[in-house]
Symmetry: C2
Subunit: 224 residues, 2 copies
DNA sequence: CCAAAAGTGTTCCGTCTACACCCATGG
DNA sequence: CCATGGGTGTAGACGGAACACTTTTGG
């Protein structure tokens, strides 16, 4: 039984905008297309939505293929549907933005897929409308970083306040006063100081903090 | 030439969440489905995306069918892609949120289509995931009403400050202090007072204001 | 001993909030 | 003349922004 047979179907894909944070910089995961059309062009990683999976499932599958990671923080950025956005044929794509901790990502998988971490400044020209997707994703992150606990997804479980501040600076694209930032952090209960000290980033050592998910779930107010 | 033939296509539709403002209340335009599946259920108005039109074009076409209006303020709310969201078959839908001035809307067309303006409080159970779409649309409006000049789209060209305040209250779902509101409005250059007086809403009469688009375009900062 | 990053408080200023009364008019 | 909605100002609280020096330690 087909209700809608008089209408035409289209291909639907998902594209993953994968953000990572490394050496104090926000980076994007991109690769060269290994198929036609557009073979060899820099591109986000994507895939077609299958008949038996939801959009979220498709995005998670693509991301899993790409990184071996599950349960990654992911948000829909939007649907992109210009008629000729894809040079191959009519394809509507739904972009998803993922935030991952680079340390969780097995380098071997990255290299197998021929992927690179690049900063926004060093972004090459990308396939199709992928640059627009990225732009929209960053706008979304900027809008939300002060009202949702996004930033922790880009860091290891234990992080220093300087690292956290760098994440904010990278996303917002502006410098933040260290004392004001730390003052605000102190007023947030679910960012816990641990007894552990990080000795890698400085001689003196920096206290390690942790995002307490349970505490946040109890009172999911966030304002930074 | 088909690059993607090994993948499966799906139906893609757009659904329009149409907001209007009447008698101090935010209202939604809904109707009873006139086709199977779900015939007779309350629903948003939607339509399938055609091969030769972009998502935006499809949304505009559907809205035009519905209201006779063009150049309406419209924003994408997101793509909805659960496998069984549509009882008829697999359909991915992209929701768009439109803000219209009820006065511009020809009642005849509304009645022809069997549509009703209903407040959020009086919303019946809706077809498929349309309630989720509406919820997401309102969240989006709330997030943006203080940083984008949305509100004017719900009002006539000339409006009183009380009307404008009611729009804010309706979207935010909370009361606002009249004096504080008016103080903030005064500090916004592109909300111009005119010499005209509205005598319909009160005996004394209220000054009519106007949103000056050119002035806003010159300095598109908005903060209320 | 010095370079490099960690850590820490105070003051000022502008913004938001709370709050109550008079005005003009049509009926 | 009164009911109805229009219009106005101020004081206190609060939060954000600016700002510089001391501490620790590995090399």
């Amino acid at each position: 039984m087909t209700y809608y047979s008089e209408h035409s179907k289209v291909w639907v894909s998902v594209d993953c905008i994968v953000f990572g944070f490394e050496n104090g910089k926000l980076k994007l995961l991109i690769g060269k297309r290994q198929m036609d059309p557009g073979r060899g062009e820099w591109s986000l990683y994507g895939g077609f939505v299958r008949a038996n999976e939801s959009l979220e499932d498709a995005a998670n599958r693509v991301l899993y293929d790409l990184t071996g990671l599950k349960k990654v923080y992911m948000k829909q950025v939007g649907a992109f549907g210009a008629i000729d956005r894809d040079p191959g044929d009519r394809v509507i794509s739904v972009a998803y933005c993922a935030l991952i901790n680079v340390k969780d990502y097995d380098e071997k998988i990255r290299i197998e897929h021929g992927l690179e971490w690049v900063t926004r400044q060093n972004l090459p020209k990308l396939y199709s409308d992928h640059e627009i997707m990225i732009h929209k994703a960053i706008t979304l992150l900027r809008r939300r970083i002060n009202t949702e606990p996004l930033s922790f997804n880009l860091l290891p479980d234990l992080f220093t306040l300087t690292q956290l501040q760098k994440v904010y600076e990278a996303i917002l694209g502006e410098e933040i006063d260290k004392r004001n930032f730390r003052k605000r952090i102190k007023s947030i209960d679910f960012i816990e100081k641990t007894d552990l000290i990080d000795k890698l980033s400085s001689k003196r050592g920096a206290a390690l903090y942790r995002f307490n998910k349970k505490m946040y779930a109890d009172d999911p107010t966030f304002k930074l």
